[in-house]
Symmetry: C2
Subunit: 209 residues, 2 copies
């Protein structure tokens, strides 16, 4: 199927079939796809939680305004950002470049120092905003990858981030929750799956120059 047919196939799944579980092979694709997401400077200040545990998901349900996808989906993906960006994060990246590409440190050093200074010049809030943008790129990538793999998903911005962070003890991991993406398979009786997709006409969203 073409990529456009895949994008037309996807929709924000309102009702998942709780009995249909993603195969390990599909989960591995989602992990790889998340990790391969392009991020600014390649710094990867985002992380993904994959939550299967039902007890935990029941605890999270109220903090997501009782949206049933939280517990009914096969897995709940939580996209997170690092709560701060440190010199060590920049060093980890460049050490990795040096290791994987055998690039000499004399070439890397100015880039390493430049990126440290860019990050140091951002306030904590600016660092987080910058990382949040990267989390949205990952969301866009993952929804498309899901569509290609015929995995249903439902993107969610609306949930209580502070409550999620507390329940998932994210502070201990230096993370903050930003976006949710329950993934799995649509219930046969999810009436939204048969609704016509609503989009603007191309002439109202695209300008050619």
């Amino acid at each position: 199927m073409s990529i456009i047919e895949s994008l037309q196939w996807r929709y924000a799944t309102k009702k998942f079939d709780p009995k249909k579980i993603l195969a390990q092979e599909k989960l591995d694709i989602l992990k790889q796809a998340f990790n391969l997401t392009a991020t600014s400077f390649g710094l990867q200040t985002i992380s993904m939680l994959i939550i299967k545990n039902d007890t935990l998901r029941n605890e999270l349900l109220g903090a997501a305004y009782n949206q049933s996808q939280i517990v009914d989906a096969s897995h709940l993906l939580v996209l997170c950002v690092k709560n701060t960006i440190k010199e060590d994060d920049v060093d980890d990246l460049f050490d990795n470049v040096s290791h994987l590409r055998q690039t000499p440190e004399t070439i890397l050093e100015p880039f390493r120092n430049n990126l440290k200074s860019i990050m140091q010049n951002k306030s904590l809030e600016e660092q987080q905003e910058w990382s949040i943008n990267q989390a949205y790129i990952a969301l866009g990538n993952l929804m498309t990858v899901c569509a290609v793999e015929r995995i249903d998903s439902c993107p969610m911005e609306g949930f209580d981030r502070a409550q999620f962070d507390a329940i998932l003890k994210l502070n201990e991991r230096h993370l903050k929750s930003i976006l949710l993406l329950p993934v799995g398979y649509r219930a046969e009786d999810d009436m939204f799956s048969s609704f016509k997709k609503v989009r603007k006409e191309l002439k109202h969203s695209i300008v050619e120059m």
Copy 2:
């Protein structure tokens, strides 16, 4: 090729071949894919410019810090947001839902009013920030679609948005430029295309619970 192989194939193209131009069929896929991007509430407060005009791109070059992809790529995509969200935008969406799905207004009305009130309660800055998040989702989607279609691309956050807005007269269209994505085909001698992809090990970006 698998979706993971496609994501591994893509890289931030540093040097495009200015002689290789995207076929109309490929451009049509990018238009459809942008328009099919999931946006919050389906409100689509984002637009995409597709710039082919060389004179215009030469004018933009300086405002993008002379990054050669601006002029060398086959086309320059500019992802934009509406500079304000009005009642009319919400009405356009629900009129479209009503038209495409034949949903009765009695059912739509509470949702229509609720979304108007959500948007009215946001400051201009909050409206724009909200739309900017959607532009990042579109960027994530488009990069993946490009990879699947073997179109090279290079995401860019670093450019002078105000200068772009002025050169492209975006205020007349009630738009603001947010992100750039030159698209086309890599030059044979872009040394970055042969570099090993640098990513964290999965255990450092993913947590299973």
